[in-house]
Amino acid sequence: MTSELQSELLRATTSTFEDLAFAFPEAEIEDHQLEAPLAWGARVAFSGPVNGTLDIQVTDGVAAELAANMLGMHDASDDGMKRDALGEIANVICGNVVPSLGKASDVFDLRSPEVYVVGTDGEETSAGATRLVVGIDGGRAEITVRVMAHVVEGAGA
């Protein structure tokens, strides 16, 4: 499932960035992109046959670019715009990824995105997580899917 999830994560990330924000992620990351500090994060929790979270963390420049492109503005340096845009990006990627964790008939519920400043949300282990890093212009985006628990049908009270 991990490789399937990895390819689905790449597909969903690429199409969401391209179609929603006219941004074109690249798998090859240059040093200056890796060195740029991650600034903003957004987390979407999902529940269903499988529970978990999807996190996206981006550099400040990428957050501003996403917001500007999504809103059709030249400049979107306002933090509120960055937060809203990144939350929506996380929501769409998550909504397109989670079906690969279950059957076509399965219903997943997505919580509203929680946007945070990177470094203030506590560290979570990446063990067992599926992670994707892509370069975008001068910065990068890191997307991580964590599966918390497999809900077994008929289990429990």
Binding site: T16, L20, N91, V92, C94, P99, A104, D109
Partner: protein, 142 residues
């Protein structure tokens, strides 16, 4: 004929994007109203004449499915044309939406696919389509 539209989404960015896309469809638009959740949408529908609602599913306070249910229960607005705009992929939930008399557009979407769905859900015939402005050639995706 111009359509009065209500855009219901808890994301202000997504509402802005949907409005932009609507303006690119070539469909004649009248007033465009916005609401951040189902409850706010019902308030708008009390006071405004709306021909078409574009509705997200996952929203706080009142989600899209409950909104559509409440609309269908109200004799004054039960015939409202509704398009659900969502990332939802579950066949079960999409079927439930279709059974409520709503159409479905998957995010991300194009101006062209939104236009086709609007014309379908509002009952514009093929003959009438000719009189509805064509979409711009620039096929932006959203």
């Amino acid at each position: 004929m111009a359509f009065n539209v209500l855009v219901v989404d808890d994301s202000a960015v997504m509402r802005a994007m949907i409005v932009r896309t609507l303006q690119m469809t070539g469909v004649p638009l009248g007033e465009i109203h916005q609401a951040g959740n189902g409850q706010e949408a019902l308030e708008v529908l009390k006071d405004q004449w709306v021909d078409l609602a574009l509705v997200d599913i996952n929203m706080p306070v009142m989600n899209g499915e409950e909104l559509i249910e409440r609309v269908r229960e109200n004799p004054l607005i039960r015939d409202l044309s509704v398009i659900v705009v969502s990332t939802e992929s579950s066949e079960t939930r999409i079927e439930r939406i279709l059974n409520q008399g709503a159409e479905f557009v998957h995010k991300p979407f194009t101006a062209e696919s939104l236009r086709e769905t609007i014309l379908q859900v509002t009952g514009v015939s093929d003959d009438q389509r000719a009189s509805v402005g064509a979409p711009p050639g620039d096929d932006f995706d959203f």
